[in-house]
């Protein structure tokens, strides 16, 4: 198995609100290996984006704060780095693309200027080298006539093109890790297919590890090598992709897989998980899924299940698979 590139160890990111503390990321541990695509899946508010933002240290503070844990990137704890060192790392060794390609490009600068900026800043290229590299990058992300695009402004491009440009900017410094936060959610399906193809292609060429955040299990199945499922700030299951889809263990993961209508597999009635995602304020020490779970036991309401390995590379946080739980 490849070397570990990033390791989250007991990460805790909290947000202070007037209603109380929201543990957006609550004791999260997992790791991303070199050259691997890891997908973090979960519904809105499960903490998947906050985990990525914690890694980039782009948590707005206040109200947010990383209150505990470590994020080890190539042997260094990112949380202990100075602001300057961190900003040197960002965009250079770790790059990120966002959901909204509209708002993540600055409307008053040309595409060329925005692509060359990290090249000039991080790699110390000359203006001329940077331009050549930028045009190379634009070509690589599959945009025809790169010279013309180089001089155009973001509003002249479509959503799909902008997302390609974002990918080009992210890849400009050959990052070791690319974080993609719902990169295709705002796009149409046919454009989404193009972008997913592009990302697969790039991963093959550049051997970049990808941490992909998504809510779409279809995207996960297409892209991931390894999957982390989050719910209410906690990792509830993690496994290699084939294993997860073949043998989901946590009732939430099972429910998610059953709840999604699949094309050409018409069913009479969809399986649905009852209830709502719990209010994230002041969650107690229990399984946060207990009130929606059909296998809920007394212990689930009283104690947080540990995340433990139950099969090869497959970890689950559920009392159903623990001795204590089985006893009931």
């Amino acid at each position: 198995m490849a070397k570990e590139l990033v390791e989250f160890r007991n990460l805790e990111t909290h947000f202070k609100t007037s209603a109380g503390t929201v543990k957006a990321v609550n004791d999260v541990s997992f790791s991303i290996r070199e050259g691997e695509t890891l997908c973090v899946v979960g519904e809105s508010g499960c903490g998947k984006s906050v985990t990525a933002m914690s890694l980039m240290q782009l948590i707005e503070s206040p109200p947010g704060k990383i209150v505990g844990g470590e994020i080890i990137f190539e042997g260094k704890d990112l949380l202990k780095l100075s602001k300057k060192d961190m900003s040197r790392l960002r965009g250079n060794e770790i790059a990120m693309i966002f959901q909204e390609p509209m708002s993540s490009l600055n409307p008053v600068f040309t595409i060329g200027k925005q692509i060359t900026e990290p090249l000039l800043y991080h790699l110390g290229m000359t203006q001329k080298e940077a331009k050549a590299r930028a045009i190379e990058l634009i070509t690589m992300v599959g945009i025809p006539r790169p010279e013309k695009i180089y001089d155009s402004y973001p509003h002249e491009l479509s959503g799909g093109m902008r997302q390609r440009i974002m990918i080009a900017i992210a890849l400009s410094c050959n990052p070791k890790l690319l974080i993609a936060d719902e990169p295709t959610t705002a796009l149409d399906v046919t454009i989404q297919a193009q972008i997913l193809d592009l990302m697969r292609d790039i991963k093959g060429k550049m051997n970049t590890a990808i941490m992909m955040i998504t809510h779409d299990l279809g995207v996960v199945a297409e892209m991931a090598d390894f999957v982390v499922v989050m719910y209410a700030g906690k990792v509830i299951e993690e496994a290699p992709v084939l294993e997860l889809f073949k043998n989901p263990q946590h009732p939430y993961t099972q429910g998610l897989l059953k709840a999604k209508p699949v094309i050409n597999q018409r069913q009479e009635r969809l399986y649905s998980i009852p209830g709502q995602v719990p209010n994230p304020v002041d969650l107690g020490d229990n399984c946060h899924f207990h009130d929606r779970c059909e296998f809920c036991m007394e212990i689930c309401k009283a104690k947080t299940p540990p995340l433990r390995t139950h099969a090869d590379g497959h970890k689950t946080a559920c009392w159903l698979y623990e001795e204590e739980g089985k006893a009931q």
């Binding site: 609100t17 007037s18 209603a19 007394e298």
Partner: protein
């Protein structure tokens, strides 16, 4: 095991029944948490009490001159001293405050009445009404307000309008010149609201225009009207003071903060007798600041996104 759990659930249900918070209550709570805004409100309330209740306790009257006792520095009998006619400055300042505050509020009320009506008509009916109203607004906006106010002030002086009636004209003029920004604000807010899906839902439900306007549109524009009107009062007070200072607004013997400052229009009074102009100047400053703090607080509190901070 079953029983207690049910009871807590029932309790929770009851809690849910009790804890209903309307958007207005939330806004109030947020306003109350904003320290600066509460300080502003306190100052304004004190200022009102001073101006409207204070004169009742004064041993002097407005027109009571006392030439021998003129230009006294603050002392035990005249706490803020006297002016060049020997009138008590504290009393004049309090009565001036009545005038200035009243002019500010009434002028703004006029501006709000005109602005909201025209803005709402333009935004709701669009088409011809919108074009007409907005072009009129453009014309008003193109008029330089200070020269107009000065001209109108001069005309009032020329017509020898009674000083006590002059105040009403002043309110009307400031109000009529001030409706444009509010009308635009209300119109654009209504245009934005119309695009919201809940307004399209009222259309799809076939609700009457009355209900659409008074139950759906207006309640959602009231927050911006409140904020803008609050800040408008501050603006109107400043306009009134400026005009009165120039002798074109409220004219003596009726006192206003602006024309009281004007009393110190020569270097001798300005340098030697600061008690003549500092009190009214200070009143303008803190009143306008207080109103602006309240306005900012209201803006934050009434944030339509309803995010709790």
């Amino acid at each position: 095991m079953e029983q207690p759990l049910n009871r807590t659930e029932q309790l929770q249900e009851q809690l849910k029944l009790v804890k209903v918070e309307s958007p207005w209550k939330i806004a109030f709570r947020r306003f109350a948490r904003n320290k600066l805004a509460v300080i502003g409100l306190t100052i304004l309330v004190l200022m009102f009490l001073l101006c409207f209740i204070g004169p009742l306790f004064s041993p002097y009257t407005l027109m009571q001159t006392n030439i021998p006792g003129k230009n006294q520095a603050p002392n035990a009998t005249h706490w803020l001293g006297t002016d060049k006619l020997g009138r008590d400055i504290l009393l004049r300042m309090m009565l001036a405050g009545r005038i200035s505050l009243t002019v500010g509020i009434v002028a703004t009320a006029i501006a709000v009445a005109i602005g909201v009506t025209l803005g709402a008509v333009a935004g709701f009916y669009r088409k011809f009404a919108d074009t007409l109203i907005m072009r009129i607004a453009d014309i008003f906006l193109a008029l330089p307000s200070l020269p107009i106010l000065i001209t109108l002030g001069a005309i009032l002086s020329d017509l020898k309008v009674n000083p006590s009636q002059r105040i009403y004209f002043l309110m009307l003029i400031i109000g009529v010149l001030g409706w444009v920004s509010l009308a635009r604000l209300v119109r654009s807010q209504i245009l934005t609201l119309r695009e919201q899906e809940f307004m399209q839902a009222t259309e799809a439900l076939g609700l009457r225009d009355n209900r659409k306007i008074f139950r759906h549109l207006m309640p959602n524009t009231i927050p911006i009207i409140i904020v803008s009107a609050t800040l408008g009062v501050a603006g109107a007070i400043i306009t009134e003071s400026a005009l009165s200072f120039l002798g074109l607004g409220v004219v003596p013997p009726t006192p206003s903060w602006g024309n009281m400052i004007n009393a110190a229009n020569n270097l001798v009074d300005f340098r030697k007798r600061p008690w003549i102009w500092i009190p009214p100047g200070f009143c303008i400053l803190i009143t306008v600041t207080a109103i602006n703090l309240i306005g900012d607080g209201l803006r934050d509190a009434l944030d339509p996104k309803m995010k709790t901070r």
